[in-house]
Amino acid sequence: MRDVISAPASGLDLGREYGHHQSPAIRAGGLIFCSGMVAVNPETGEREHGTVTSEARRIFENLKLLLESAGSSLDRIVQVHAMIYDRIEYDVLNRIYRQYVPDAPPARTVMSVQIEAGFKIMLDVIAAA
C-alpha cells in the first residue's frame, strides 16, 4: 500500500510550481518519505532565498504543514539528511534546527552538496506515519 500525500498548500506542490516530477510525500509501510524540502512560500510557491536561519525556519514550517496534513508531526521524524551548501554554516543550522526538534530529535546526517536554485539548505526527511 503506497499513498501519495498531496501538498496541503498549493505553494508546496513543487511539481506544479517548478516542474519537479515528484509527489510531496509518499506514505508506505508505516513511514512517510518526503521529497527534499526547500524554502518556498507555502501559499504563493515563491522561492524564499535567505540566510541559513530563515531558510531552515521556512523548511521546518513547511514540513510541519505537510506532515500534520498526513497525520504525522515534526516529532515523529525519524531521519533527516540535512543538505547544506557549505559546512561553514553548520553551527548556524544547528541553532535554528534544535528549536524545531528539541526532544528526542531524529537521526541526522549532514551533507555538503549543491542544492537546487542556489538554496543554502534542503532537508530530506523520513517520518513515522
Binding site: 533527516v80 528526542a104 537521526a107 523520513i126
Partner: protein, 84 residues
C-alpha cells in the same frame, strides 16, 4: 488506518560514542521506529577518548564501521541486519 509505529531513541552503550550528547548536537544517535532503525551519520570517533581519529582513510572507515556495529548492538540488532 493501521496502528502508528512506535518511535524511540537509541543510545550507544559506550557513552564515549554518544556524539549527539557529548557535542550537544540536535540529533539522537539513532531512532527505532517499528522494526526499523535509523542511525545518525557516524564518524571515526575513538571509543576510548571520544574524539575523532583523523588518520588514514582506511582506518577512519574501519573505526566508523566498528562504531556503527556498536550502535546496532546497543539497539539489540546486529551488523548483519543492515539493509542500507
Amino acid at each position: 488506518m493501521t496502528d502508528r509505529l512506535p518511535r524511540s531513541v537509541i543510545e550507544p552503550k559506550n557513552p564515549k560514542l554518544n556524539v549527539s550528547r557529548n557535542a550537544n548536537l540536535p540529533h539522537s544517535p539513532g531512532i527505532r521506529v517499528g522494526d526499523y532503525i535509523f542511525l545518525s551519520g557516524m564518524g571515526p570517533v575513538d571509543p576510548v577518548t571520544g574524539r575523532r581519529n583523523l588518520g588514514p582513510i582506511a582506518e577512519q572507515i574501519r573505526q566508523t564501521l566498528r562504531n556503527m556495529a556498536h550502535m546496532l548492538e546497543s539497539a539489540g540488532s546486529g551488523s548483519t541486519a543492515s539493509s542500507k
